[in-house]
């Protein structure tokens, strides 16, 4: 261990930091006597960096030498940055040392295209082999498949890791053509399909033989950069939904574009669109845990998410025919659609309902955010006392409610003025929306 490792770590962390995925969830390696490590299904964050993001895995590149010239990426061939590569041994030892100290849950390994895609993959595979075979390491490993690598490399890697990802980065083919000419939609989607099929096959085999080899047991993920290209929220979200449904992805990550490129088509000196990224993540939650479909949230009339309202409130205001919902009788699906009721409070409501009838004062005890939910529920057939009835007041109060939360997360709500919102409903719209419920 010497100064060069220190320097390599610095360079290869700096090159890897723009990847948003740093979760260790979905793992299922329980501890085995005599072997180091295990995974924990919900994942564990071990630290939070100065930007407030979770550090769960040692997120580094094997090498930031890259033959490609993707314009949105710091590691592009034409960019003048220091280059370095870890040997498989160096990186494996580093991972183990950090894991033993409880700094990390494991390794998130990616690489620039050092030489050919297959050569880059081979270096990564060697690193992970040392970890798994030599150290018997059972911690979490997430590896990225390099676009353009062979099927064999994907198969090998998939048998060693917990999670794999292939980053889509740009949400449209047109974006790829101009900004990442060496990549094609095809060589991104081909490994994604292969991983999907491998996961399905391994699950089937596991039902037959308990000891069949596992393939990417924690599932596949991807990332899209938001704000580097003109793609709107609707395009991004439709693609996201297709990835969940057709490619069986576990997670889609969004990464607000940080201006690292100089290409004429890329935005320059703009702050990263953090509020937009936040709204996309909120919508992603609605897709994964709340039973929403993308077309309910964005459509041709509303192709972008409302910056002032979280997507669930925005949806609820557009659907007066569904509300108010009766807390004592609504089923789980319907409860989940109420702003201010989350997955946990919905379960609490169902649980508590089996013991007795719920009264308005119980809602808070069950974890319902009453100040948000009150416009959308009845309890015992009645709206909560003192619920405002003026529709504009309701829109305003819901928008105001998200202000402190966004401020706490240092999201740029202040930069918006409530009157400049692109799809702020007019007073009439709001009245129309809400009249059904009032």
């Amino acid at each position: 261990m010497d100064a060069t490792i220190q320097r390599k770590l610095e360079i290869l962390t700096d090159s890897a930091k723009y990847d948003a995925a740093c979760t260790s969830s979905g793992g299922d390696r329980s501890p085995v006597a005599g072997k180091l490590g295990g995974t924990c299904a919900p994942g564990i964050c071990h630290s939070f960096s100065a930007d407030g993001r979770c550090i769960s895995l040692l997120k580094v590149l094997q090498s930031n030498v890259c033959a490609y010239d993707c314009q949105y990426c710091v590691n592009r061939r034409s960019n003048d940055v220091p280059r370095a590569s870890f040997t498989p041994r160096e990186l494996a030892d580093l991972t183990i040392g950090m894991y033993r100290r409880n700094y990390i849950e494991g390794l998130f390994l990616s690489s620039g295209v050092s030489g050919t895609p297959d050569h880059a993959m081979e270096q990564m595979i060697q690193t992970i082999r040392i970890l798994r075979d030599e150290y018997g390491f059972r911690g979490y490993i997430h590896a990225k498949a390099i676009p353009g690598c062979s099927r064999e490399a994907v198969t090998l890697l998939g048998q060693l890791v917990d999670r794999m990802s292939v980053n889509i980065e740009l949400p449209s083919e047109q974006g790829l053509q101009t900004l990442a000419p060496a990549k094609t939609k095809q060589n991104i989607l081909a490994p994604m399909r292969q991983i999907r099929d491998g996961i399905v096959q391994s699950k089937e085999e596991l039902t037959v033989y308990r000891h069949a080899p596992k393939f990417v047991p924690a599932g596949q993920s991807t990332q899209m950069i938001v704000g580097a290209t003109p793609d709107d929220d609707r395009q991004i979200l439709r693609l996201t939904e297709a990835l969940y449904k057709q490619y069986g992805l576990k997670r889609v990550f969004f990464s607000a574009y940080i201006p690292v490129g100089t290409h004429a088509l890329l935005p320059k000196n703009t702050p990263p669109p953090l509020l937009r990224e936040h709204r996309l993540y909120q919508t992603d939650w609605l897709l994964r845990y709340y039973g929403f479909s993308v077309d309910e949230i964005v459509d041709d009339e509303h192709p972008t998410l409302d910056p002032f309202l979280d997507p669930k409130c925005a949806w609820a205001l557009r659907h007066p025919e569904i509300f108010p919902v009766e807390i004592n009788t609504a089923d789980k699906e319907l409860l989940l659609r109420v702003p201010g009721i989350g997955v946990k409070s919905a379960l609490h409501i169902l649980r508590a309902r089996r013991v007795g009838r719920l009264r308005p004062e119980d809602l808070k005890k069950l974890g319902v955010v009453v100040k948000r939910a009150r416009y959308f529920v009845t309890c015992g057939g009645r709206m909560l006392p003192d619920t405002p009835e003026d529709p504009t007041v309701i829109y305003r109060s819901l928008a105001e409610l998200s202000r402190p939360e966004l401020q706490k997360a240092a999201l740029p709500f202040e930069q918006l003025t409530l009157f400049a919102a692109p799809n702020l409903p007019t007073r009439e719209d709001v009245i129309q929306c809400l009249s059904g419920q009032l």
């Binding site: 005599g34 180091l36 100065a50 979770c54 940080i258 997360a409």
Partner: protein, 256 residues
């Protein structure tokens, strides 16, 4: 004749369970169960009870069978909260539980249930924070060492996790706040009271790893997204003192 009666038990969790057995044998049942250093009231007649392992086990089994494992874990964690009212709250929770059985954990709007769940949640939260923020250092004896300063004595909740994970690796977690240490020898763990703070000798390699980790930590943040309030929200300041990555460069090694 005094209006109220109360039992005084030895202040241990097992002692509390045993005292609850005694409470059910008294007629009328005592209004309160307190710890030796609890605040006595003038209108109350106190009786000291001695813990009996057989009674403890009967109550423990009764809770698990009638109210479920979830209820048992709630009272155990609520006990670890060290809250001045913990004994009383657990006593009331269990009285309700022995009456309504497995409906107890579903009675989420009952104030007695809410009171215990609240305490249990505080302790769970601290334990899950420490699963994240424990930082081991390698000592010259080969044992890994870590110091924590938690509000609640959560070592019993941490030890199984790290024992599984580090497996054959021996380690010590020293809880400075409660002068306790969790010891694991590679096979079994125990929690012991310790008289004074432990001062392990660290290896030379340890210093390098701490530097490496700090380098990683400082580099991985994205300058354009710096967000102090979000970091504080996710990683409360009270833990920073014992986090390797947040020490100034020169203070990297743990106390001599």
């Amino acid at each position: 004749m005094l209006e109220r009666t109360a039992l005084i038990y030895d202040g241990t969790f097992d002692g509390l369970l045993s005292a609850i057995f005694d409470a059910y044998e008294r007629r009328p049942m005592p209004q309160d169960i307190i710890e030796p250093d609890g605040q006595p009231r003038l209108d109350t007649h106190y009786e000291t009870v001695v813990a009996d392992p057989a009674k403890t086990e009967r109550v423990r089994r009764g809770i698990r069978r009638q109210m479920g494992q979830e209820a048992y874990e709630h009272i155990w964690k609520a006990f670890l909260s060290l809250h001045p009212d913990r004994s009383m709250r657990i006593y009331e929770y269990l009285q309700l539980g022995f009456r309504i059985k497995d409906r107890l954990v579903r009675s989420l709007t009952d104030d007695r249930v809410i009171a215990v769940n609240k305490l249990s949640a505080l302790v769970s939260r601290e334990a899950s924070h420490l699963l994240q923020f424990v930082r081991f250092a390698e000592t010259t004896t080969g044992v890994y060492y870590c110091q924590i300063e938690p509000t609640y004595p959560v070592l019993p909740l941490l030890m199984p996790h790290f024992a599984h994970r580090l497996n054959v690796q021996a380690f010590v977690i020293y809880d400075k706040t409660h002068a306790e240490a969790g010891l694991y020898d590679g096979r079994q763990w125990v929690v012991r009271q310790v008289e004074q703070s432990l001062c392990p000798q660290l290896t030379a390699e340890e210093k390098q790893y701490q530097r490496l980790w700090k380098t990683f930590y400082d580099t991985v943040a994205i300058t354009e997204r710096i967000n102090p309030s979000l970091r504080r929200q996710n990683m409360p300041k009270k833990y920073w003192r014992n986090l390797t990555e947040l020490q100034p460069d020169e203070g990297l090694l743990l106390p001599k």
